[in-house]
């Protein structure tokens, strides 16, 4: 536990020692604002809620989270510091969890910087703050799932660009599998249970469920087990090919 904390601190601090943190936060806040206000017709809808804001999160995460995750292990491999890290008296699961948590907390910080939007709706109207809190939780969970995929893919390569592209594609598959367009494509010929299985693997369906304001245990378990699976795979892959 102590080891996880120490690595976590170092990782989180390293975001702020480079411009990554500032660029990421600024772009995240800026884009989520743009999406919500212009494309989501935030004002024109005349409703005091944050649905348009959260509605774009999956798409925003689709390219921002891979950018955050791509460096997790690929950079360690590239610079050789993985050799330094993994010959310290820590276990690989500790390193995997600590790095992941640092990235997740960082994405949480970026998300926290969107608070002016929340403040704005509260100023303009009378939104259901319970729904908003649930949406924030859902957004965090979804970011966590994206990140776990990204961390795992990043552990496979030295090359951050490859890590980015593959992560984005894998995440896209996870998002799209709940999209009506894709589901329609399947529902024409595939049996119902298959369509439901595909849909149940989607970030969208689970995120939308949470964003409605109900944190269902199933949605929660879905994200947590997805994260656990990808982190487990991450640890196994590092163990198997730490030196390649």
């Amino acid at each position: 536990m102590a080891n996880i904390w120490v690595i976590f601190k170092r990782e989180l601090a390293s975001y702020f020692m480079t411009p990554i943190a500032y660029v990421f936060i600024v772009i995240f806040v800026f884009l989520s604002g743009i999406f919500a206000f212009y494309m989501g017709n935030f004002f024109a809808r005349g409703q005091a809620d944050l649905e348009p804001f959260f509605g774009f999160h999956p798409w925003l995460y689709l390219f921002l989270i891979p950018a955050l995750a791509m460096r997790l292990w690929a950079e360690e491999r590239k610079t050789g510091t993985i050799e330094l890290l993994l010959t310290l008296p820590i276990s690989i699961p500790q390193a995997v969890v600590a790095k992941y948590l640092a990235a997740w907390v960082f994405s949480g910080i970026a998300l926290a910087f969107t608070f002016p939007i929340w403040w704005t709706v509260n100023f303009l109207g009378d939104p259901d703050n319970g729904v908003i809190v649930a949406s924030y939780v859902g957004s965090m969970l979804m970011a966590g799932a994206f990140l776990a995929i990204g961390a795992c893919v990043s552990s496979l390569t030295k090359n951050q660009v490859i890590a980015f592209v593959i992560t984005a594609v894998v995440c896209l598959i996870f998002v799209l599998s709940g999209y009506p367009l894709v589901l329609d494509f399947f529902s024409g010929w595939a049996p119902q249970f298959l369509v439901e299985t595909i849909s149940s693997f989607s970030f969208l369906s689970h995120f939308n469920a949470i964003a409605k304001g109900v944190i269902d245990l199933r949605d929660f378990v879905y994200f947590v087990s997805l994260i656990a699976f990808w982190l487990f795979a991450n640890a196994v892959l590092i163990e198997l090919k730490k030196a390649d």
Binding site: A2, N3, V6, I7, K9, R10, A13, S14, M17, T18, T79, G80, T81, E83, L84, L86, T87, L88, P89, I90, S91, K242, A243
Partner: protein, 406 residues
């Protein structure tokens, strides 16, 4: 216990010089010792086996434990018999392949406390790969690494806590400052509060890092980066220190300091270092292993290595005077001279290299001959032997001396 602490009871017995085998009292004493050692081994074994047999579900693990424990006994002696177990690195039949390349091929050796082992070999010989396996970064294809009694495959974290490692090229987190980086290392190594502060200060002093403590590592010169890497390796005063080319990129003063540092730590530690600088081996190592194409081709002290050089005890002679140019023949006629090589003459001074027959010392004879012939001796030096020559011979498969390679 010496470097070969692995001496089991049987070895002690076998090691007795043959000439003394007849001495009855000594033989009796040896037998008594032996019995005592076996007894404690037997008791300890019984204890372990009982656990192994009644372990139930955990039996498989127990039996691995047992195997590991027996290995440890062979390495460090029987527990209870020798209380202060020496730090020690034992490498057994280590092999590693990368695709078609066999990077390390059945390498075995054992290093005890107080030894500084120099790891030599041409580029791509497998030095770094071996070190990566000793530090647990790479898993070997076969063979085992035992550090201070624990197998690294079974207790990786415990073993890593005992090791300080400077990887090849000293990779570092470039965006941190040396201070932040050492702080990180300190906390991972379990230092907190005042102890941490004091240890950082002490380490910084040992490797002369004061002036760059707050400058990002990315902006440091190569030598300073290397020193940060070194600081990280020696930080927790480890029992085992593994340094992959520690002086690469340092200026001559720093090289000197680092060698002094290594020497000062040598007493209490096992140190394994790799280097391409042969003087470094003479300067700091008590033992040298040469590895070529993944195999250990030579394992001895630097002095023994020098002795394998053709130049060992050879004489470099520079003389002037009448007939000095034709001295080669008369030198060749001396008993004990294997060969004479004329190195040419400049300004009336003729130079020769005189190679002795094995075991002969020629300095006295040669100077006497020179005096008799009336040559004026400008230079007469006895060569110690040259490591680079031995290195080349051993690693390219040629024989280094008349006795041939190992």
């Amino acid at each position: 216990m010496g470097p070969v602490a692995a001496a089991t009871a049987r070895d002690t017995f076998d090691d007795r010089p043959e000439g003394q085998a007849g001495r009855y009292s000594e033989w009796l004493r040896a037998r008594r010792d032996l019995k005592k050692r076996y007894q404690s081994l037997y008791c300890a074994l019984r204890e372990r086996c009982d656990i192994a047999e009644h372990g139930g579900a955990k039996r498989r693990r127990r039996s691995t434990d047992l195997r590991c424990w027996i290995t440890r006994c062979a390495c460090t002696g029987i527990p209870g018999e020798n209380e202060n177990v020496e730090p020690k690195v034992e490498i057994r039949h280590l092999s590693k392949r990368f695709g078609q390349i066999t990077a390390v091929d059945d390498v075995s050796f054992c290093v005890g406390r107080g030894e500084v082992l120099g790891f030599l070999g041409p580029n791509g010989a497998g030095k770094s790969t071996t070190m990566k396996m000793i530090t647990g970064f790479l898993a070997p294809d076969s063979g085992s690494v035992i550090v201070g009694g624990d197998d690294i495959a079974l207790a990786p974290v415990a073993v890593k806590a005992r090791i300080g490692y400077l990887p090849e090229g000293a990779p570092l987190y470039a965006d941190m400052t040396p201070l932040a980086f050492l702080n990180f290392v300190a906390e991972i190594r379990g230092f907190r509060g005042e102890a941490k502060r004091a240890r950082i200060e002490q380490t910084v002093q040992r490797v002369n890092l004061e002036e760059v403590l707050n400058q990002p590592i990315a902006t440091l010169s190569k030598g300073f980066k290397r020193r940060v890497g070194l600081a990280q390796a020696i930080f927790h005063d480890p029992e085992v220190l593994i340094l992959d080319e520690p002086t690469d990129g340092l200026d001559p003063n720093q090289k000197h300091e680092v060698r002094a540092l290594i020497r000062s730590m040598a007493q209490a530690k096992v140190i394994i270092l790799s280097t391409h600088i042969l003087e470094e081996v003479e300067a700091v190592c008590t033992r040298a292993i040469i590895i070529a194409r993944g195999k250990v081709v030579c394992d001895s002290t630097p002095a023994e290595l020098e002795a394998r050089s053709r130049l060992h005890n050879a004489i470099t002679l520079a003389v002037k005077g009448d007939g000095a140019h034709e001295a080669a023949q008369s030198l060749r006629d001396l008993s004990g001279v294997e060969a004479v090589e004329a190195l040419g003459h400049i300004d009336g001074i003729a130079r020769y290299q005189i190679y002795p027959k094995a075991g002969e010392l020629l300095a006295a004879t040669v100077s006497q001959v020179a005096r008799e012939r009336g040559w004026e001796i400008v230079q007469l030096t006895v060569e110690r032997g040259r490591l680079d020559e031995v290195f080349r011979a051993v690693t390219t498969g040629e024989s280094a001396s008349s006795e041939g390679g190992m």
